[in-house]
């Protein structure tokens, strides 16, 4: 198949149907809960009903005598194996099963292994736990009060009355003094408090595992919802003390991840211990409430932002302070030198002379996590901050938000651009993206319509109000250069291995793992693009640590930027091997051969002798010869196989411009997202259909977060969003027919010119929706989620604080 995308002509690239779909439409996907091994037992987790309580006693006698129960595991059981605590991705430890205290509602206290899932649940009710309730810290803003209860008294030096008992970290970036200078000379400063509330990635499939320990060989096989199988293997090895080569992680089909399946959860480890104790495979799959209550939440950033501008509306500087609610354990999954993730890109798409931010992380009695939900390591929070601040500035200075943006955007001649906080943006054409979006939306006509509607509403008191919101976002994805970026000491470079079989088909082994992104197709397209083979002739292997090279996994939109580059490099290495073999076959010097990628037939590309028409050899012919008895020169291995480890030189910086149009009923506060225009630039698109699909999904996330999604707590730390009846997600009724367009600005450092895109829309869309709603109701700021009740209250001048229970 042939496609021409973004200047990359040839076979491979293009909107081809996905190879994986055949099994899914037949109901023949193989998700973790579909796995049934002989003799398999079922696990269930007993969870804390309290947000903060001391454990006085745990009595498992009755549960153990349940006829179908095979094992009951408590914190004490694990402590005896030195497994009661596990390391987190952020230099902290987290409880596997609580031994001393419970620190959030839903925390894991005990684990039952039984013969079926119903019996396991029954037995949970037979475990008696005596708790001594403690005062919880629910409001992050109270966590550093001198009299705040200390959550992490398991850590040293945490009991002094210094108000630091719940302090996790301070981090800053940018130049405070230079920023101060800009603020001092500014003609205008706008400030705003913004909460990016706690939300949850909520993939449709919850987290789960089947752990299978073989007592004879000592080999542990873990089938699990793992976005990062290789990183998980190292963690299992460290925590369970099983040698790494005895552990095999298999990630089967994964029903959505969005960062929820990066973390290591107690249920996974308890299933492993359960399997070791019983000698049988143990399945554990959490239910939806468990997923929403205990696994990686996202955001929970309390931001105070200031933006300074001169009298002409040129943005001079941005200053931010952030309080980050990390929950009871610091378990954010991000490159370890970046405690606030990539929030440092908060200067966004603008030419800003100076910027500074300070982030303080704190413990609260809530579930751990914080970096998930397609956030690109907190670029979501950064984009929300800057795009909201720019709108506030426009409002405060009486400027049109589109014009204000256009006047301050970085222009294409500024790339590569070093931002005031030290990030090097690889490439971009922001004005073109915004212009395209405004043209598609017909911005002037929308403004005219808005005026008419408002006038009609003011005349009659009836009808709806129209709002137009936009955002121009810059993403930072594809972590990352291993000198700067590691997770638990593992540099974020990805391996890839490619082998061309004697008959000219190929197998590509990847370290990353799809959760719906379509790797089996996209990565086959990359090989097809490089070698000219048909896409169907390339098998893609992923998600099995015994059969794939090492790498850090799929999250942070890193598969195409890192593993995609690795696949491309491995394929070009194979092509160069093929050149050497072709030179022997054709009896010419390798340098005299010209590569022609062909048209994607089973022959693959071919090498032809320069200047001698008609003399050439196809990749398929070369593949057979390379496996045969050919006399190859020194230094040329036989066969066609190559591996590589790709260490990206920089992140890639996809970007886009979004325009959202809403109609708000001021009587009820109800918001109707009428239109959403999204212009995305992620460099070269390998499969535009897949790219657009991912953008659609991210736009729905944005509508969800802006309008309805919220993990809320009451004053006692009770979780108020523990089911899909309370944690609201957008359905087809709340989503408009997305209107998409693309611009293509290739990444200069990625071998294919591609950038990551999986999270762009989740990152870029929430501010566009919020800006639109606030534009409609003419309110300077109100926090997400803008539910009807919240919009209505904002209209009355009484906005709600969303981070603790709505009141």
């Amino acid at each position: 198949m042939t496609g021409t995308v973004g200047g990359c002509a040839g076979p491979g690239f293009g909107s081809v149907p996905r190879k994986e779909d055949g099994r899914f439409v037949r109901g023949r996907g193989r998700f973790v809960d579909d796995i049934a091994l002989p003799g398999m037992l079922h696990g269930a987790v007993l969870r804390s009903p309290y947000a903060h309580a001391r454990i006085v006693s745990v009595d498992t006698t009755a549960a153990e005598s349940h006829p179908k129960v095979r094992a009951v595991i408590t914190g004490e059981t694990l402590a005896a194996r030195d497994m009661a605590w596990m390391p987190t991705f952020s230099h902290d430890v987290a409880a596997v099963l609580a031994t001393d205290k419970v620190r959030y509602q839903g925390q894991e206290v005990a684990f039952v292994v039984a013969e079926d899932r119903y019996a396991a649940r029954d037995a949970l009710a037979l475990i008696e736990v005596e708790y001594e309730p403690l005062a919880p810290v629910v409001d992050a803003r109270r966590s550093l009060d001198a009299d705040a209860p200390v959550i992490r008294d398991d850590l040293d030096g945490r009991t002094g009355p210094d108000g630091r008992g719940n302090h996790v970290f301070d981090w800053e970036t940018g130049d405070e003094a230079a920023t101060g200078v800009q603020f001092a000379r500014a003609a205008h400063v706008s400030a705003c408090d913004l909460v990016y509330p706690r939300v949850h990635p909520a993939p449709l499939e919850t987290c789960g595992t089947v752990a299978d320990y073989d007592r004879i060989s000592g080999k542990l096989t873990v089938h699990a919802t793992a976005q990062a199988p290789h990183a998980h293997r190292m963690l299992y090895s460290r925590i369970a003390g099983i040698p790494e080569h005895h552990i095999r992680i298999i990630a089967p089909d994964i029903g959505g991840g969005f960062g929820n399946k990066v973390g290591m959860y107690p249920g996974y480890l308890c299933a492993v211990v359960g399997s070791i104790m019983t000698g049988a495979p143990v399945k554990w799959v959490e239910d939806r409430s468990e997923n929403l209550m205990s696994t990686s939440f996202a955001r929970d950033f309390h931001m105070h932002g200031e933006i300074a501008a001169d009298a002409d509306g040129r943005i001079l500087a941005i200053r931010v302070s952030v309080l980050a609610d990390h929950g009871a354990f610091n378990a954010t999954a991000q490159p370890s030198k970046f405690p606030a993730g990539f929030f440092g890109v908060f200067t966004g798409s603008y030419d800003i002379a100076a910027a500074h931010c300070r982030v303080t992380g704190v413990y609260t009695n809530k579930a751990p996590g914080g970096v998930a939900y397609a956030c690109s390591f907190r670029v979501t929070e950064a984009v929300y901050l800057v795009e909201r601040l720019v709108d506030v500035l426009a409002r405060d200075t009486g400027r049109d938000p589109a014009e204000l943006r256009m006047a301050n955007l970085l222009t294409p001649d500024r790339f590569p651009f070093r931002s005031a906080t030290g990030w090097e943006y690889d490439s971009g054409d922001y004005p073109r993206a915004l212009r395209t979006a405004l043209e598609m939306a017909d911005y002037p006509a929308l403004r005219a319509e808005q005026k008419e509607r408002r006038a009609a509403y003011e005349r009659t008191g009836a009808g709806t109000l129209t709002g137009i919101g936009m955002s121009v976002f810059t993403e930072a994805v594809g972590a990352g250069p291993r000198r700067l970026m590691d997770i638990m000491g593992l540099g974020m470079a990805d391996g890839a291995e490619l082998r061309v079989h004697p008959t000219g088909t190929a197998v590509l082994r990847l370290s990353c793992m799809s959760q719906g992104q379509g790797h089996e197709t996209t990565f086959a397209q990359i090989v097809s693009h490089e070698l000219g083979l048909p896409i169907d002739a390339v098998q893609v292997v992923q998600g099995d640590t015994d059969n794939t090279p090492f790498g850090l996994g799929t999250y942070g939109s890193r598969s195409t930027p890192v593993s995609g580059a690795a696949a491309s490099v491995a394929a070009s290495k194979v092509r160069e091997q093929a050149r050497q073999v072709a030179a022997v076959l054709l009896e010419v010097a390798a340098d005299d051969l010209r590569w022609d990628v062909g048209t994607g037939t089973a022959d693959g590309g071919n090498f032809a002798v320069a200047g001698v028409p008609g003399i050439s050899v196809t990749l398929r012919e070369i593949a057979l010869a390379a496996h045969g008895g050919l006399d190859l020169p020194d230094g040329v291995d036989g066969q066609l196989t190559a591996s590589t480890v790709y260490n990206p030189p920089n992140l890639t910086f996809p970007f886009g411009a979004y325009v959202c149009v809403v109609d708000v009923d001021p009587g009820t506060g109800e918001v109707d997202v009428r239109r959403f225009v999204a212009v995305d630039d992620c460099g070269v698109r390998i499969n535009p259909m897949i790219v657009e699909g991912q953008i659609h999904g991210g736009l729905a996330d944005g509508v969800g977060m802006a309008l309805m999604e919220l993990v809320a707590f009451d004053d006692d730390g009770n979780h108020l969003s523990a089911s899909f009846m309370d944690y609201l997600l957008p359905t087809a009724m709340e989503c408009p027919a997305w209107e998409l367009a693309a611009t293509v600005t290739p990444s200069p450092h990625h071998p294919l010119g591609a950038k990551g895109v999986g999270e762009s829309a989740t990152v870029g869309s929430p501010p566009a929706v919020v800006n639109a709603v606030l534009d409609a109701i003419n309110v300077r700021h109100a926090d997400m989620p803008l539910t009807p009740a919240h919009v209505w209250r904002a209209l009355q001048g009484r906005p709600i604080r969303p981070d603790i229970a709505i009141r």
Binding site: G518, S723, T731
Partner: protein, 157 residues
């Protein structure tokens, strides 16, 4: 109890509390039907019972006694895939595939009842179902695509 699933009769002793979704998945090993919420909100568990879509996480297995259940595994016939399956593939109406079986069962029923639905009617039909990946646009497109293809197949103009 006795239940016909995809044309095959099964007679089983079951606990009265066993959910239909677990009967299908765990006992009959028809794992195409998924569960995503247990609260009737996500629709991943949608199957047909006596020709009507139901959320099998909210149906007790014994309630299916004497009835006939159809799951996603039955969509493909002896002559190949159902048009709705083909259309989902052609229109990229799925990504992770977890919501897909439920979406397909609802969409098939919609098209049986209303062979020419508008986009709004399609959105209403799937409004009891959640997809976290696709933003719904391509699902709507896939259902429309199937409607058009089936109309052409019937010779409708």
């Amino acid at each position: 109890m006795g239940v016909t699933v995809n044309g095959v009769e099964h007679v089983r002793e079951v606990e009265p509390r066993l959910l239909l979704v677990h009967l299908l998945r765990d006992e009959l090993r028809l794992t195409g039907t998924h569960w995503g919420c247990d609260t009737s909100n996500c629709g991943a568990c949608t199957v047909w019972m006596d020709g009507l879509p139901v959320k099998s996480c909210t149906v007790l297995a014994v309630m299916a006694d004497g009835r006939s259940v159809r799951t996603v595994e039955d969509l493909e016939g002896p002559f190949g895939l159902d048009q709705i399956q083909t259309s989902f593939m052609d229109c990229h109406g799925l990504q992770c595939g977890f919501c897909t079986p439920g979406m397909l069962m609802t969409a098939r029923k919609l098209l049986d009842d209303n062979p020419d639905p508008t986009d709004t009617e399609i959105r209403e039909a799937i409004s009891g179902q959640i997809c976290r990946c696709t933003g719904y646009r391509n699902i709507v497109a896939a259902v429309r695509h199937a409607a058009v293809a089936e109309a052409l197949g019937r010779g409708d103009t």
